[in-house]
Amino acid sequence: MSCGGGFTLIEFRCKLPRRAFTLDIALQVNPASVYSIFGPSAAGKSSVLSVIAGFENRLHTAYLSVNGRVLIDVKSGHGLNVSAWRRGVVLMEQGATLFPHLSVRDNIYFGVRTKRDPWIEAWIERVGLGPYLDAKPSQLSGGLTQRAVIVRSIVGRPEILLLDEPFSALDWSLRRILQDAVMDLQNDLGTTIIMVTHDLAEAQRMADEMAILNHGQILQYGAPEHLMMHPKSWEVAKLLGYTHLLTDGNGQTFAFHPSRVVPEAQPDLGPVLQGTVKEQFLHEADRRVAVYLSSFNCELEIAVPTGYTLHIGQTFAFTVVNPPYVY
């Protein structure tokens, strides 16, 4: 999806003191790509979008250029900080709702002078908002409201769209539908999207590139698959779902992820561990097995196929597939 080619659409650097930490990050985003900022709650993710969108006035040091146009250039609290409404950068905030006093149609077309645009009308029909255009927002379900918010965000065909936990309040199936809608929009418009999320699956599914943010610092960035396979530190690994730090036969430490295992000993794939089955239960379509490893004196969970038969108390060997070696 990324057409990179060496050209950077967004260049952003920022130092911003927050209550518990100083946000200190730098990121470069390729045109027509989806860049995801992933991290736990209160890591500073929303602050990044707030600065890029133009809603942070107390900047100490920051620089933002979009397509060569400098929007922020602040040093020691002084300098250029273009107003939010002049940036051409649309922010969809977490929990954003429609304007309650306007109809759905007036909401969607709020940012433009026209009240009818064939391209937008097609999107309205596509996301199922057609019958609700004259309704008030209070008459819409959460899912329909979120669709209208998305369509409202793209009505001006923005070059850059910032999504702050856009689907966090929705159920799983609706999230998938709206993720697909945003991806289609992105393909259709060629819009560059920076998306903040604490849902790893969402980031991995949508992003071309992903940055892992914690305590105001980017710990690692890269393609989602690369990050998952090669976290460079235990802190990153933990954020990506790795649960234990173990040592192999050579005394090297590796990160253990419950899903990166195969039952049985297959030493050519990675370190083999052996333990006693303590408990097993369903985890969505997988079966999770709690195994006690006497050599490490710890208990961990592994994912095995649903039909795989194990018994409580059974001694069980499994292989950790090509784990990342971290410190």
Binding site: F55, A84, W85, L91, A96, H101
Partner: protein, 262 residues
């Protein structure tokens, strides 16, 4: 919808008793008044004070809207110590007795006061003039609107404003098409309360502007010259003029509160 498990019958009774206590004097007046004689007083001595009151109140309210709306907005959203101090200072006229306001106005704007002398250089006087009435009404009523506006703007979810700006809509258009409509229920009630306060302003007005007689001052003159019957007729006129707007605004807000759910 399920009925609440506990019916607060005692609270309802207390509500009715309080309402009756407050309204009984007014209702008894309405029941016993002689309407032909009231009409006669309105025609003979009510016209001029009514026109004075309405004109002065209209100008005062225009000034209050013009100054009070942005002031209320910045009190709600302004950052920094300055706005906290301004909020605190605005409480002073709100808490001051109207008579005290009148004396202070006389001290400052009167013929021998600092501003009075400045005004006289421009051929203006803030003593016993329309300007004096308007000044007294402003001092008595502006904090009511400003604090109501502050509360109204505080209730507007700021995300709506940010959405509008982010969509490329200018701050002025955002104010006009997002912030003001969403704050309008509170603004209208605040406006109505300030209107009632301004048109009924007496304590400050009588000190600095005995002339031209406003309705409240005329009521006081009628009371001292003709006794209660003459004063009551003009009182009814004031009530007829002053009450409908605040009552209508409260009813409007009640019926529109679910239309604009913030």
């Amino acid at each position: 919808m399920r009925k609440p498990y506990f019916t607060p019958s005692l609270a309802v009774l207390a509500g009715w008793l309080s309402t009756a206590f407050l309204l009984i004097p007014f209702i008894s007046l309405l029941l016993q008044v002689s309407w032909p004689s009231v009409w006669r007083v309105w025609v003979t001595s009510g016209g001029s004070p009514l026109v004075t009151s309405l004109w002065c109140t209209a100008i005062s309210m225009a000034v209050i809207l013009f100054i009070g709306t942005p002031l209320g907005y910045y009190l709600a959203h302004g950052q920094g110590r300055a706005w906290i101090i301004i909020e605190f200072l605005l409480l002073i006229p709100l808490l001051m007795p109207p008579l005290v306001i009148g004396l202070l106005l006389m001290y400052f704007y009167g013929p021998y006061g600092f501003m009075g002398r400045v005004l006289s250089h421009f051929g203006l006087s803030a003593s016993n003039t329309f300007l004096a009435v308007i000044l007294a009404q402003l001092y008595e009523s502006i904090p009511y609107y400003v604090f109501a506006a502050q509360a109204a703007f505080n209730q507007v979810d700021r995300r709506h404003e940010r959405v509008s700006l982010s969509l490329g809509v200018s701050p002025l258009r955002t104010m006009l098409y997002v912030t003001m409509p969403l704050a309008s229920p509170g603004l209208i009630v605040g406006f109505a309360m300030a209107f009632a306060r301004a048109i009924g302003a007496f304590g400050a007005v009588i000190v600095i502007a005995y002339y031209p007689n406003t309705l409240p001052v005329s009521i006081w003159i009628a009371l001292s010259e003709q006794g209660l019957p003459g004063a009551l007729a003009l009182t009814l006129l004031l009530v007829v003029i002053a009450l409908p707007l605040p009552l209508a605004s409260v009813v409007w807000r009640r019926f529109h509160s679910d239309r604009i759910s913030l």
